[in-house]
């Protein structure tokens, strides 16, 4: 469509007229940290809650039993708020002395804030920490697969809004094939094919016909919702016992590793799909930044003309890597039916694809950071689940809102700068 200009470049910040040697410092980080510190003091100290917060660190099946952590709510809140204030002070000092606030300092701040919030929310109650983390990981698995697919796709220069559709297609086909064959592994393969299929439509429309990639992505989502919804009502639901009872993957305990306190049960008592995810994150990271494939992929996404000049076939590279991205996202879709929920339901992905997209941008198009962002989103959603059980002091809607607000803040540049691959979203028309 000619009416949509592809990804309008925002006007460059008004830094043009400054002398070149001046170091440009940003006050965004200290301001953001300051706001959160004020919130912390308000919540944890001013509206501090009396009582003891108990954090349970072990489950009954663990080999090594850790005692429950009992913290006095108000005192812990004060200590954490003071620590947060210190970190904010350090960040102000660093910006004043023309230095960047390092990302690890912000991470420490975030973790402290989260612990403070947990303790505050759990006043007089018990929070099962392994359960909280386990649930977070399960919610994050499809997001991570989606984000990995998104990273690959955007790094090669094709905006992938169709993650949602790929997830849904993967969930549908995996449920159907696994139910028919009674083989979850075949379902997994089918999900990858479904993801690839959606990707190929995206790729061929955007690469061959130069249709705006965002438009194809949005329309593909609607198409997949329509097709799966139609087939579900028409074929799957009437024959549910034959077509919609997929066998689920068994949990596999990894010896030794699964007995590490706290993280062992969370990370190493999982299903095959989750182990595939660990491998996928590592492989995508290594592949993107340490192999010839990754270098070519990134060059096509950053500067397709230069890549073309040195003999890389831009269209082919884009096509096959977008297809690969679809396969990875399809795996995430299979997790819905073969890993967590069981049976397929209409629109069961419920916007996970869009959150994965947010994770891609929040993670600055880096597979590791995007994974961490996806984990954060999973944590925020699951925290809401856990808090609603023990009686949350914050309305659950605001907890659910949190990941989206964080993403807006991230995209608006409060957490470092975010700049995507230069040629992402732009069709490469060879002249």
């Amino acid at each position: 469509m000619s009416t949509v200009a592809p990804a309008v470049q925002p006007a460059s910040p008004a830094a043009d007229h400054r002398p070149e040697f001046e170091v440009v410092t940003s006050w965004k980080a200290p301001i953001a940290l300051g706001i959160f510190t004020v919130v912390a003091f308000l919540l944890f100290v001013a509206f501090g809650r009396e009582g003891i917060s108990t954090l349970r660190l072990s489950t009954s099946s663990d080999l090594i039993q850790l005692p429950d952590l009992e913290l006095p709510t108000l005192v812990t809140g004060i200590v954490i708020s003071v620590l947060l204030l210190l970190i904010t002070g350090v960040s102000v000092w660093m910006v004043r002395s023309k230095r960047r606030v390092p990302i690890w300092l912000i991470s420490v701040f975030a973790v402290l804030f989260l612990i403070g919030f947990l303790v505050w929310a759990a006043a007089g109650e018990t929070i099962p920490v392994p359960g909280l983390l386990f649930g977070s990981l399960s919610l994050a698995v499809p997001l991570i697969f989606g984000a990995l697919g998104g990273v690959i796709s955007e790094r090669v220069g094709v905006v992938n809004i169709a993650i949602e559709g790929q997830l849904l297609a993967g969930a549908f086909t995996s449920a159907m094939v696994a139910s028919l064959t009674n083989q979850p592994l075949l379902g997994l393969v089918a999900a990858m094919f479904a993801g690839v299929l959606v990707s190929m439509v995206l790729a061929s429309f955007s690469i061959k016909y130069f249709v705006d990639q965002v438009i194809v992505g949005v329309v593909l989502n609607v198409l997949v919702i329509g097709v799966t919804g139609f087939l579900y009502s028409q074929v799957m639901a009437p024959n549910a016992e034959l077509l919609n009872q997929p066998p689920r993957f068994e949990r596999i305990n990894i010896p030794l590793l699964s007995e590490i306190p706290i993280i062992g049960p969370v990370l190493f008592r999982q299903t095959l799909i989750v182990y595939i995810m660990y491998v996928a994150v590592a492989v995508v990271y290594y592949g993107l930044f340490h192999t010839r494939w990754g270098l070519r992929l990134r060059s096509v996404g950053e500067h397709p003309q230069a890549a073309d000049t040195v003999g890389i076939n831009v269209a082919r590279t884009r096509f096959w890597n977008v297809s690969l991205a679809g396969a990875i996202v399809g795996l995430g879709g299979a997790y819905f039916t073969l890993g967590s929920v069981g049976a397929f339901g209409k629109e069961m992905t419920a916007g996970a694809g869009f959150i994965a997209l947010a994770a891609v941008i929040f993670g600055r198009w880096d597979p590791i950071r995007a994974t961490l962002a996806a984990l954060l989103f999973g944590f925020a959603s699951n925290l809401q689940n856990v808090l609603s059980v023990i009686g949350s002091p914050v309305p659950s809607e605001f907890m659910l809102m949190l990941p989206y607000v964080i993403t807006i803040a991230a995209v608006a540049g409060f957490v470092g700068t975010s700049r995507g691959p230069a040629a992402s979203g732009k069709p490469y028309i060879k002249s």
Binding site: M1, T3, V4, A5, A7, V8, Q9, P10, A11, P13, I161, F205, Y209, V211, D212, V214, I215, V216, V218, V219, L220, V222, L223, I225, G226, V227, G229, F230, L231, Y232, S233, Q234, V235, G351, F354, L357, A358, I361, P395, E397, F398, L400, M401, Y404, V405, T407, I408, V411, A412, G413
Partner: protein
């Protein structure tokens, strides 16, 4: 077009075949087949065809007949025809005219339903189209509609005002709500460069949870009810019916026409609209020409959000006046994108596309009721239409239409290079 240039003047290569002047009929045919309108029509045909395949494949009768295809192949064809024609005629009768009713007044009711369904689609589609013209992609229809409904709906049920004035006040509040939610996106884009696709998607969720909370515990809660639903809109604020109480068509449709005229005027006649289009075509050139691109981004999102907000308030004051829940937008925010794409971001194109999609919606429900074909097929057909329209070369390739600007088929036998080289 090379066809109108006449015989080439260069005489250097005598092997060049001289194209014959095509007849006037031929020219007219080429103009029709290479135009945009034919692509739109063929895209609809193609999409309906694919939808028909899906309906036929999943039909029980067809599957049964396929079992004994080799003994009686006619049965299969008959079943396919029955299933597809049954579904599409139900779609037509549910959206345009129901032949089974006795009187014209009862028979035409589906068409008024279509217009009722089309009203919010046109309004929201205009908002999305306006964004497109400025080069912005507003996926935030859902959020903007929800916030509009929350503010306007609150004025509608909580404030006491005389008849007429109340409606206007609720309308204004709703439009302002939508504009506010859209304006945040524009402001973020202008100030920080945050991509509007991401911020609108995120704000959809924020609005959804915010309104859910307000419905559960905030100022939208119905007193004495645990249902997350707002109180009913007061009679003084409800849109009047256009054709009497037997039809659902209400004043909102007039507003949709007015909004279309306004958007047309804004885009093609006003100074601001000129700046909108300039930024949409080339923001760098617009900046050089002295247009403040950032300011235009904010204005564009304000107008875009306002128009989508109109769709939101239309639902509360016109379509479902008995109170609204957090699912108020029911996909209109996303449908609006396809409407705007189908209408090629032109106000009257959006108007027509909105009516087409309204017809799909109205007919889809009756198709589901009468023929048992799930309404999801409508989503499939709609998205396929947009996909095909977005890729004219694909449609041309399927129907073997000539590309615009291509040379007409030569009358002389074409000598290929290989033959010429001998």
């Amino acid at each position: 077009m090379s066809a109108t240039q006449g015989p080439p003047t260069a005489t250097g290569t005598p092997a060049t075949p001289v194209p014959e002047q095509p007849s006037r009929w031929n020219q007219a045919f080429r103009e029709i087949t290479t135009g945009n309108a034919i692509i739109s029509v063929l895209a609809v045909v193609l999409a309906l065809f694919v939808g028909g395949i899906m309906i036929a494949f999943t039909n029980d009768g067809v599957q049964e007949a396929a079992g004994y295809f080799f003994s009686r192949p006619g049965d299969l064809l008959r079943e396919v025809w029955y299933s597809v024609s049954g579904a599409y005629s139900a779609l037509f009768q549910g959206s345009v005219y129901n032949f089974r009713r006795d009187s014209f007044a009862a028979g035409i009711k589906p068409l008024t339903e279509t217009l009722t369904f089309a009203t919010p689609l046109i309004m929201a589609g205009l908002g999305v189209a306006l964004g497109f013209r400025v080069g912005m992609f507003n996926i935030g229809g859902r959020g903007q509609m929800l916030i509009a409904a929350a503010l306007g709906g609150w004025v509608g049920f909580a404030v006491d005002l005389p008849y007429g004035l109340h409606m206007v006040a609720a309308l204004v509040a709703g439009v302002l709500g939508g504009a506010l939610w859209g304006g945040i996106v524009g402001l973020l884009k202008a100030r920080t460069g945050a991509h509007e696709v991401i911020t609108t998607i995120m704000l959809n969720y924020v609005a959804f949870y915010l309104v859910s909370y307000l419905l559960r515990e905030g100022f939208l809660k119905t007193p004495g009810s645990n249902n997350p639903k707002s109180p009913a809109t007061k009679v003084t604020a409800v849109f009047p019916d256009l054709l009497g109480p037997t039809y659902t068509l209400h004043f909102g449709f007039i507003l949709a026409i007015a909004a279309t005229i306004f958007t047309w005027w804004l885009l093609s006649r006003s100074n601001l609209g000129f700046q909108f289009r300039a930024v949409g075509l080339n923001p760098h050139a617009a900046r050089v020409a002295g247009i403040s691109v950032k300011r235009i981004y904010v204005y564009a999102m304000l107008f875009s959000g306002g128009l989508i907000g109109l769709a939101g308030i239309n639902q509360v004051l016109g379509t479902t006046t008995s109170g609204f829940g957090a699912g108020l937008d029911s996909g209109i925010g996303f449908d609006a994108i396809t409407v705007a794409l189908l209408g090629r971001s032109k106000p009257w194109g959006v108007f027509a596309a909105g009516i087409l999609f309204g017809a799909f919606k109205a007919g889809g429900f009756s198709m589901q009721a009468a023929e048992g074909v799930p309404i999801d097929i409508v989503l499939v057909v709609q998205s396929l239409i947009v996909l095909f329209i977005a890729a004219p070369p694909l449609v041309r390739a399927i129907f073997r239409l000539p590309a615009p600007g291509s040379a007409p088929r030569r009358a002389l036998p074409n000598v290929t290079q290989e033959v010429a080289a001998k």
